[in-house]
Amino acid sequence: MSALLENRDLVVPGDALYEGRIRIGDNTYRSQERVCATRLGLVNYNKNMVSVIALEAGFNPLTGDLVVGDVIDIGLGKWIVDIDAATNAALNVPDAIDAPFRTDIDMPSILDIGDTVVAKIVDLDRRRTPILSILGRDLGKVTKGFTIRFTPSKIPRLIGRNGSMVNMILRATGCNIAIGQNGRVLINGRTREQEEMAVSAIQKIEREAHISGLTNRVQEYLRQLKEEKR
C-alpha cells in the first residue's frame, strides 16, 4: 500500500505508480496488485486516488464540451462534423435550426460541406457518437477568422485557472478567441498583427505547457511582442 514515485514525476506507459488498493483516475490501469500509467505524463497522487496528467493525448469527447469542427458530409437530416475525435460527430437538424426536420429543408443553405462550426456536445449516443448542437450563445457557423491546432491534453493550460490565461491573451492582443476542447482554436482579430501575436503566444504555451510559472512567462512574452511592434 504505497506510492512508488514522487508526485509530479514524469512517467511513460507501463510504469508502476502504486502498489495496493486505491481508486484509479485518468490515464491509469490496474495490473494485478499494481496501478500503472497508460500515457506519457505527470503522476498525480491524491489522498485516495492516483492519476496521470497526460502530456500527449487525443481528444476524448464528453458531454458539455465546446468544440470547433468542419462539416465533412451531409446526411438525411444531419450534418457529419469532423471534430478530431476517434469518430465523427453528428449535428441533427433540430439541433441546428430549432425546428423539426422536413424533407423540403435546403440543408446546404444552412451549413455546407467545408463550413467550420463552433458547437457543443450535447450527448453521446449509444454507439458513443458525439451529438452536437449549435443552438446557443456564441455557437454556430464561423464566418470570420481562422483556426489553428493545439494539443487537446494541454487545453486546460491554454484556458488557465478560471480562464486567466486566455483572458490575458484576449486583453493583450484584442482578438476574439474560441477554444474548442478538441484542440482547434478559432482566432479572429481586427488586424493581421493582432492575430500573429495571439498565434505566437498560443504556440509558446503549447511548447512550454509542462513547465511551471507559465502565466508569468507568457505575460512577459506578450509585453515583449508589443514592444517589438512599436
Binding site: V12, S31, R39, L42, I53, E56, A57, A86, P156
Partner: protein
C-alpha cells in the same frame, strides 16, 4: 544489400556452440547491440512520430489516429484496428528497390501490428483505426525490429493509451556462435535469426519469429539473449520519450 531474406539459410545441425571471444565483423561483442538513437515528435503533421537509427538502419514512423476508418466495412464494432504499413524507400538498399509494396512489406506490416496490438488499449476506440506508417530510409538488417521500436515511441507520442512499451531485438547464430542484434551480413550468412518483441514491464513476448535452424536449447538461449537486448532498448525508448520534455525536475502541472 537486399533486405529480402534468403530462403535457403545454411542448414546446420551442429549442436555445439563455439566458445570463442572473437569479435564480430563490425567489431561488436557477441551480446552487444548496435548504437541506437531515437527521437520522438519529429513530424509536426502527424499525431505522433519517431525517428530511429539502429546501427545503419534509419527508420521514420508516423502515427495517425485514432480516426474514422475507411473503408468502413473493415472497422470492428468493439475495438479499434491497428493498421501498420511497412515500406522501404527505393534508396534504402543497393541496388535500388522497387517502391511498389511487396509480399515481404505486407508481411512485416502485419507482423508489426501483431507485435504492437497487445500493448495498445484498442477496446477504447471502437469502430476507429490507428494508422502506423513506417518508412525505412536506410536498411542494414533487422529493420522490422527497428520499426517496432520506433512505432512504440510514436504511438506514445500520439497519446494512444498503452499497457507498456514494446521493445524489439533479434538474436541469432552465426559461425556456430549465438549473437545479439544481427546486422545485414550476419543475417544473410548466419545459420539462424530470431526476432523478438517484448514488453519489459509486463514480461510478455509479443513477437517471436525464426528463420533458419536451431536446436531447442540454443533456441531458448537465443530468446533470452534477445530479451536482454530488448531490455536495453527499452531504456533508450524511455529516455527518448522523456527527452522531449527536458529534465524531470523542472516539470510541474498547474491544473
Amino acid at each position: 544489400m537486399s533486405k529480402v531474406k534468403k530462403k535457403t539459410k545454411k542448414r546446420t545441425t551442429k549442436k555445439t556452440t563455439k566458445k570463442t571471444t572473437k569479435k564480430r565483423y563490425d567489431g561488436r561483442e557477441a551480446n552487444e547491440l548496435r548504437p541506437i538513437k531515437i527521437e520522438s515528435g519529429v513530424l509536426p503533421n502527424a499525431d505522433g512520430s519517431a525517428y530511429i537509427e539502429m546501427g545503419r538502419n534509419k527508420v521514420l514512423v508516423g502515427v495517425f489516429g485514432p480516426r474514422e476508418m475507411h473503408p468502413k466495412r473493415f472497422s470492428k464494432p468493439d475495438r479499434a484496428t491497428l493498421r501498420c504499413r511497412y515500406h522501404m524507400s527505393p534508396f534504402s538498399v543497393s541496388p535500388r528497390r522497387s517502391p511498389a509494396p511487396s509480399r515481404r512489406d505486407t508481411e512485416i506490416g502485419m507482423v508489426m501490428s501483431w507485435a504492437l496490438e497487445p500493448a495498445v488499449f484498442l477496446d477504447r476506440y471502437p469502430r476507429s483505426v490507428i494508422d502506423v506508417y513506417a518508412e525505412v530510409l536506410e536498411a542494414d538488417g533487422g529493420t522490422r525490429t527497428a520499426c517496432i521500436n520506433a512505432a512504440t515511441v510514436a504511438l506514445v507520442d500520439a497519446g494512444i493509451p498503452m499497457r507498456d512499451l514494446v521493445a524489439s531485438c533479434a538474436a541469432g547464430k552465426v559461425d556456430g556462435r549465438l549473437i545479439l542484434d544481427l546486422g545485414d551480413v550476419e543475417d544473410k550468412e548466419g545459420e539462424a535469426d530470431v526476432p523478438v518483441a517484448y514488453m519489459p514491464k509486463l514480461e510478455k513476448v509479443t513477437l517471436l519469429q525464426m528463420d533458419g535452424v536451431l536446436p531447442p536449447e540454443e533456441f531458448k538461449e537465443c530468446i533470452n539473449l534477445a530479451i536482454e537486448g530488448c531490455k536495453q532498448i527499452y531504456e533508450i525508448q524511455r529516455e527518448a520519450l522523456k527527452k522531449k520534455y527536458g529534465i524531470t525536475d523542472e516539470e510541474e502541472a498547474e491544473e
